[in-house]
């Protein structure tokens, strides 16, 4: 596997996200606590851990969907402002999610508008940005269907007529069509057949590379994390137990829990 093709993160520009001592707990050690990290432009950060480790809670806090009990998240916006995510208004936060960010759900049905065609799904974010030319919206829809390896001829078909893997591709196209500066992915290949997963991963990897995306990726699957991320946070019982470069962590895990995780995965 050739990992060198992933471009390097841009360390010159200010970090996109700065996460300081973030905690959000539902019960003792349920949720996430005392999380600190920095995400650079062009970087893919993987958050790994088994289910219940708190990684999805953390993602929701980062994506502005759930206020933390303590700590704060700073986002460096497109117009060079540094925004404290939970100090700005909800209006501003939702605008970020709509204009600068993208969120890819594990279940594509949560991220797609199931009642309207594939083309309308892809066009929605563009229309929210003020695009008012039907022909151009349609062209963008066809172009993006091609990019995610869907048949552009199916632009008027409803998402429910697509398979699970195709729906996930559609969700990705719908999210990336506006070229978001920051993308949150929650188990993007979860719930799919292994063969479908492999092709989808390959496609995501290509898009990340071509578009130079900055991504926070949550996954329980170390193989997915290895393939896509520059850096990893390993979570267990609401806390980060180990953090570092992906290769370093997976090839030479320091924490006992990470060692257990790594050893439990069959290496091909």
């Amino acid at each position: 596997m050739n990992r060198s093709v992933l471009p390097r993160p841009d360390l010159e520009r200010p970090a996109l996200l700065d996460v300081h001592n973030v905690s959000r707990l539902y019960g003792p050690d349920k949720g996430c606590q005392e999380i600190n990290f920095r995400l650079h432009a062009g970087e893919v950060l993987g958050i790994v851990g088994e289910s219940g480790s708190g990684k999805s809670t953390l993602l929701r806090v980062l994506a502005g969907l759930e206020a933390p009990d303590a700590g704060h998240v700073a986002y460096h916006s497109a117009n060079d402002d540094t925004l404290d995510l939970y100090a700005i208004s909800e209006a501003r936060r939702r605008a970020l999610l709509r204009l600068e960010w993208g969120l890819i759900h594990q279940n594509p049905r949560d991220g797609l508008r199931m009642g309207v065609s594939a083309g309308a799904n892809i066009g929605e974010r563009l229309m929210a940005l003020g695009q008012r030319h039907y022909g151009q919206l349609r062209a963008a829809g066809q172009d993006w269907m091609g990019q995610v390896e869907l048949d552009p001829g199916r632009i008027d078909d409803a998402p429910r007529t697509f398979s699970g893997g195709m729906q996930q591709r559609l969700q990705i196209a719908r999210t990336l069509v506006t070229r978001p500066r920051l993308v949150f992915m929650d188990e993007p290949t979860g719930g799919l057949d292994v063969s479908v997963q492999a092709r989808l991963l390959d496609m995501i990897r290509t898009l990340v590379r071509q578009l130079g995306l900055s991504v926070v990726l949550v996954t329980h699957d170390l193989a997915v994390a290895r393939l896509l991320s520059h850096r990893l946070l390993v979570m267990r019982r609401s806390r980060v137990v180990e953090a570092g470069l992906t290769d370093q962590i997976l090839d030479d895990p320091q924490h006992a829990y990470t060692q257990l995780l790594v050893s439990s995965v069959l290496t091909p």
Binding site: R94, R98, V116, G119, M127, R132, H133, Y134
Partner: protein
């Protein structure tokens, strides 16, 4: 009428509604919640419009009531009779003589003038309702101007039919801010909302919301650059007055399915025919 206040509602209620109306005029297109009352007519039959009319009516007003453009449809007759009974105001069928016009589903063909008030009956005031059923969520969407989804519906129409397939209750943007449901008027009437000289008030009784378009307000029908908003057109003209520019009703004249087209605005049609309504 004995036992009831002028125009049925008590003065406190009317004042509450007028305060809400002032707010609505100040924020064109914004849906103002108001403490709607039960009226002695069923919800959905114009109770919102009636409460607004009751609140603004004075003893020197001249009231016209139309339903489907016509003064003589049963619901228009019933509402007009109600206000004659509880307010004793003068009524008219002539659009130009009326100071207040309550309407369901039409805007009169004759241009309205400064000082006139048009009161619309509104069944579902929320233009986002059929995309987002939750009121909490739609209020937030309005507050944040999250309107991209309105165009999703129009996009979908064009993709499926080649045309925008919304023919009535066609959504508009008021003063470049709020997306608004103009009530189920045919889209034919939408251009009349733009820069109209009259004050236009909208009342939804069951949903307890009211809103307004003040005189001379910009009102734009949502569309695409390459699929611009268009109004209905007929090959026929009115069989009674010969109008080629008015909104026509289709009337089936016999068992063989023969039909004719006539103006839906009865006052307009009769005026053109030189009759006194």
């Amino acid at each position: 009428m004995n036992g009831y206040n002028f125009a049925y509602l008590d003065e406190q209620t009317k004042r509450m509604i007028r305060r809400a109306l002032l707010k609505a005029v100040a924020i064109p297109g914004y849906q103002v919640p108001f403490g709607g009352r039960e009226m002695p007519m069923p919800y959905g039959w114009g109770t919102g419009g009636m409460q607004l009319t009751a609140s603004i009516l004075g003893s020197d007003d001249v009231l016209k009531v139309i339903d489907q453009g016509a003064d003589d449809t049963t619901n228009a007759v019933s509402i007009r009779a109600f206000f004659q009974r509880v307010a004793g105001v003068e009524t008219t069928t002539a659009t130009t003589s009326a100071s207040v016009i309550q309407t369901r589903h039409r805007i009169p063909e004759a241009a309205l003038s400064h000082g006139q008030i048009l009161v619309f009956q509104v069944p579902i005031p929320e233009p986002l309702r059929f995309i987002e059923p939750s009121e909490q969520e739609t209020r937030l969407m309005h507050a944040l101007e999250e309107y991209g989804v309105m165009h999703v519906k129009l996009y979908e129409d064009i993709a499926r039919y080649g045309h925008i397939a919304t023919t009535y209750a066609y959504p508009v943007k008021v003063d470049d801010r709020y997306v608004m449901d103009p009530s189920p008027i045919p889209k034919f009437d939408n251009p009349k909302l733009h820069m109209n000289e009259a004050l236009m008030l909208f009342g939804a009784g069951r949903e307890k919301r009211l809103y307004a378009i003040p005189p001379y307000t910009r009102v734009e029908s949502l569309d695409f650059e390459d699929h611009p908003f268009e109004i209905q057109a007929w090959d026929e003209c009115c069989a009674l007055c010969g109008s080629e520019t008015s909104y026509l009703d289709e009337v089936i004249t016999d068992d063989a399915g023969n039909r004719m087209f006539v103006c839906s605005d009865t006052d307009y049609c009769m005026t053109r025919r030189g009759e006194v309504a």
